[in-house]
Amino acid sequence: MAAVFEVIAPGLLTTVQDRGRHGYQAFGMPVAGAVDEYALRVANLLVGNEENAAALEITLLGPVLKVLAPAVIAITGADLGAMLNGEPLPLWQAVAVKAGDEISFSGVRSGCRSYLAVAGGIDVPVVMGSRSTYLRGKIGGLDGRALKAGDKLAAGEPPAAARTRVGRRVPPEFIPTYGNNITLRVVLGPQDDHFTPAGRETFLTGEYVVTNEADRMGYRLDGPKIEHAGGADIISDGIPLGAVQVPGHGLPIVMLADRQTTGGYPKIATVISADLYLIGQAKPGDKVRFSAVSREEAVKLLREQEENLRRLAELLSRPAGRIRQFRITVQGKKFEATVEEL
């Protein structure tokens, strides 16, 4: 495949991610994959890809990319100030780019991670069933590492639908907001009985702050200390996505995509699937609270989220009414307007 982007500057941490490397955890292989799967999946839907296609996960400070060949792209997730040739590039929308265009990012406005999908998907070798970059294991993505200046990225064959998607945008009700003050719903367990009642109370009422030690592997939080009952070590067992483990220091760590498969700290609770995007879009300094829900409630919320995605996929795949785009300049300020015939 021909290269579609050249990396002029890599940004803080830009990696290739799909929905992760499943089926190898029994060998100690972490899953990796997009930290905010919802945003990844929507970006792929916008450009007509399969939801599992590989895209760029862009962290806080975005890269500068030179477009080498015409392509249809979509950027979702965090608002990191995406620009196309120096003009604001609309998020949650399929956009056509052409050779010579430059994609850049002016800075964080909300959230932490953007996803840039390209029609056809980022084409890197599949390793153990996935294109996701696992940085510590140095596999997947581009040679198992983050992007660096000079890299060239190829895309797969664009789906036939891609061109007809240009200008299509995600209706506002499907676009999440990423606040600086989030509440994560959790299902207690598997080791909530390793904490005193007071410890559990602290966990569910305390306000925590995301520390600087927050990456794809996990988010360390600071705040009131959670009291263990007995020791803080358990016999190592498996770590699910979203597990909230509490080592001896009493402070919670939320385990994310690159988490190790097993560990020896008790896990007081697990963040529900439907809320994982919230922690994935949190930044150091953001405030986090936890609230307990039943497992039934968690499954219900996940089902709703999946139904929403199915609805969105259906909406986006419908033949579009005629779309017209206008660029308007009012008192020196440039605006872009899209009008769709219904």
Partner: protein, 247 residues
């Protein structure tokens, strides 16, 4: 070991099936049986299963199988484990060149244990080690059954980079580093085998529930095996467990 397995919720997409609160071959045998049972009769909606010391972490899709239904199905499997015929465990023979540049801490282990190097090697190669689980890094085996006569505390200051294939001792444990990683284990030798190779299928040489046996080789043998491993022609020696050694 518990009389009945405990089911612990691990969010809306995973479930812990816990068989005991100890590290023991008996508990591990239950986990191995359960893993085999799930392979023999897969439950729709189960995505993957991670065996650990005393439990299984069952990853599932709750939109395909409701957690309560999954628990019932798993409980039923647990009750019938006794009838399941397990495949004979295997022993993977891991050639190790002990001491010298590959085992810089062998002299310390000798000093700490009061044993001669030959004796440490004889004891280390004299046991079949049960692979309780894989974790920590891709392909890292948690081995049980090391003879306590060669137990040696970890290094006071961990090394920043331990080469892949290094074989070490940490307290009462022994292990093999599958990839270059930092670590504080006392290094006594190195194997030319690749425990982990992302481009091989399966990528990881060892599986939980089977055994590892170390075999001492000379530097010349090590080099010859390393050449074959690099060329992809080396046949790893795997033997049935039944010719019983301790462990």
């Amino acid at each position: 070991m518990y009389d009945e397995a405990r089911f612990l919720p691990a969010g809306d997409r995973a479930l812990v099936v816990e068989f005991g609160n100890e590290i023991s071959p008996e508990v591990n045998a239950r986990i191995r049986a359960m893993t085999a049972a799930l392979e023999a009769e897969p439950i729709a909606g189960v995505v993957e299963v991670v065996p650990t010391y005393r439990s299984l972490l069952v990853h599932f899709d709750p939109l395909q199988v409701a957690p309560e239904v999954l628990e019932e199905r798993l409980a039923e499997l647990c009750r019938n484990l006794g009838e399941l015929k397990l495949p004979e465990p295997t022993v993977t023979v891991v050639p190790v060149c002990y001491g010298g540049e590959f085992g810089p801490d062998l002299p310390f282990v000798c000093q700490h244990t009061g044993l001669a190097a030959e004796e440490v090697i004889r004891i280390h190669t004299g046991t079949d080690y049960l692979i309780y689980m894989l974790g920590f890094t891709p392909g890292f085996p948690y081995l049980g059954g090391m003879d306590e006569r060669i137990a040696t505390p970890r290094l006071k200051t961990p090394r920043t980079k331990i080469p892949a294939g290094s074989v070490g001792i940490a307290g009462k444990q022994t292990g093999i580093y599958p990839i270059d990683s930092p670590g504080g284990w006392q290094l006594i030798g190195r194997t030319p085998l690749k425990l982990y190779d992302p481009f091989r299928e399966p990528p990881v040489l060892l599986t939980a529930g089977n055994y590892v046996r170390f075999k001492a080789v000379t530097k010349e043998e090590y080099d010859a095996i390393a050449t074959e491993v690099a060329a992809g022609t080396y046949r790893v020696e795997v033997v049935p467990k039944r010719e019983g050694r301790e462990g």
